[in-house]
Symmetry: C2
Subunit: 355 residues, 2 copies
């Protein structure tokens, strides 16, 4: 489907919604930032340095995955659209693909199995990440740490006895860990408890962001919760603290949904079914409206108001209706109005497969 | 279905959308106002007078319909809900059923065949009306006049050589004729040509009203066009003038729809399909929202954007989701919020029958 990406959907295992609490916790992500000793970081690194780092890192990931085959992508060799597809799948960052083109040596290595990948020459030399369905922080950390250990045996990782792992930006130093969970919280939004909940999350030292990272709006009632500090505590501690907080938020969300069904059952059912009707029949949909309608559907399936579609279908819609994905199946650039039409076509196709 | 109404749907033949231009011209109505000589009119009439008039008129309609059976309804003998059902079917007027209860002798006689009926002791002693699907003014006038002739042979109708038929309100004197056509004009509304069109209609001596009579809003893009004068011209002239004007409006509406599809095809298709999705899946709908969504559907079927439902289904939805009709099938009064839920259920049932 995607030019330059050999597997069908590498790195998208989390779409299957198989993890615990996957009706509310869409995905767990654990990221470890590492750098190679004696090499220049970030903007100080020359093209030569970066290309050497890419070659070494790719080779190390390749070996770590054996006997299975890793997907090694040097971004500059991919069509721009494939780079943007990696971005839309959260396998590459905006910084990695660059404003107009990626810098030399920027790359992505995707491990077979679908959860683990590595961004190479992003802000740090290596950013390993593990993305899993549902709330699976400990598992994600275990997988990411396993890869970290293997790469650490092959590559000289920069580490300081006092500060821990050294990173390009000091806020990431120490564990180099960023763990986050993407939550769908329509119950807390509709019962107006969300502001208090977000405040409480901040007070325990965690941060909240929208679907598209820092400063983004809370489109579709999606909220990312993640750790802020990376220094002075163990990875396990950081992840455990996040895990307990997320479990509390999930419990509050379930409670809010009960209240919603008890006090506004008809309104909620109406909202859910209308969202289904519009997604199934609209002929033009912008991404934001679609995300808000998907939120209604996700709530409806979770509350068993609707029998179908599956969470898997909802996750696929969320990813495959983004601009670069739509353009990849059209095999050409699409003007914005036409994009909304193709998005509606794609949604109908996915929903039809489910009936 | 309706307590006190012997036939299933007497007087609702027009629902079948079988008439010419029925995609735009929902229904044609011709009404003839008549009074009995030597009897007091309207507010001057005592209960005794009115009851005698009901008995005489009912007997005359009964004879005129033979050998088939007319439906003769004295409103005071019907449950209030059945009176309101007659109102919702336009077979009785608000004046006839009264604010709290009908006055003595108020009644409706419905001829077998489904087009002709007579309101008895409304503003005038007799108001014959013929309602037909589509644009069928000449046919409706012919049927109403036929009944008028037959009743005129049995009853002494008040007639003045100079003024023609005498009526309670002088504006109806002469022919006693009111002819009107209910038009669905979304094309002219969406292309913003409607204001000019309505102005032109007024300039040729006709009046325009909403679905629910004088002063009502233009809910669902429905417009009633009717004659204003009843005196000094023949019935045929009045009806012919209206007929030609309506044909012009229908042609303009068809032209506007072409422009719409040419210049805003996607937006129009989207509007139509969204209306279908909402009507099919919403769990609560108020009458006005429903009428606006039905307008989208009607346009979509007319333009062959949608294959189903039929105009018949749309007409049934329009009539059978009104309050008294909903209460009749629930066999009890329904609070407003619950009514919206039952309306949505009824709509889904009718749409399901069509698939």
């Amino acid at each position: 489907m995607t030019a330059g990406l050999p597997e069908a959907n590498p790195g998208l295992d989390w779409l299957d919604a198989s993890g615990p609490h996957a009706d509310i916790a869409i995905a767990t992500r654990v990221r470890l930032a590492r750098n190679l000793e004696g090499r220049r970081y970030g903007s100080l690194a020359e093209a030569d340095d970066r290309e050497q780092i890419f070659a070494e890192a790719a080779r190390a990931v390749h070996r770590a995955c054996r006997p299975r085959e890793a997907t090694l992508l040097e971004l500059a060799e991919l069509p721009r659209r494939s780079q943007r597809i990696l971005l839309e799948r959260r396998l590459a960052s905006q910084e990695l693909i660059g404003g107009r083109a990626p810098e030399a040596g920027a790359g992505v290595a995707i491990c077979p199995g679908g959860s683990l990948s590595v961004m190479i020459n992003e802000e740090d030399h290596l950013r390993m990440q593990c993305i899993m369905s549902g709330l699976r922080l400990a598992d994600s950390l275990r997988l990411a740490s396993g890869l970290d250990d293997e790469l650490g045996e092959m590559l000289p990782l920069a580490w300081h006895p006092e500060f821990g792992f050294l990173t390009s930006c000091p806020t990431n130093a120490g564990t180099g860990l960023r763990a986050s969970v993407l939550l769908h919280l329509p119950g807390l939004v509709l019962t107006r408890e969300i502001a208090g909940t977000l405040r409480a999350i901040t007070q325990v030292g965690l941060t909240t962001r929208g679907l598209f990272g820092e400063g983004s709006e809370f489109v579709g009632n999606f909220f990312q919760i993640s750790n802020q500090t990376t220094l002075g505590r163990s990875e396990e501690d950081l992840v455990d603290h996040l895990d307990r907080t997320v479990l509390t938020v999930i419990a509050k969300e379930r409670e809010a949904r009960k209240v919603l069904m008890r006090d506004a059952g008809t309104i909620t059912e109406d909202k859910v079914w209308r969202a289904y009707g519009l997604l199934r029949y609209a002929r033009t949909l912008d991404y934001e409206e679609m995300m808000n309608l998907l939120s209604g559907l996700r709530l409806g399936i979770s509350l068993r108001i609707l029998p179908t579609p599956s969470f898997y279908a909802l996750n696929r819609i969320m990813i495959f209706t983004q601009t670069a994905h739509l353009e990849a199946s059209a095999a050409s650039a699409i003007p914005p109005e036409e994009r909304k039409v193709r998005r509606a076509v794609r949604i109908r196709r996915i929903l039809r497969e489910e009936r």
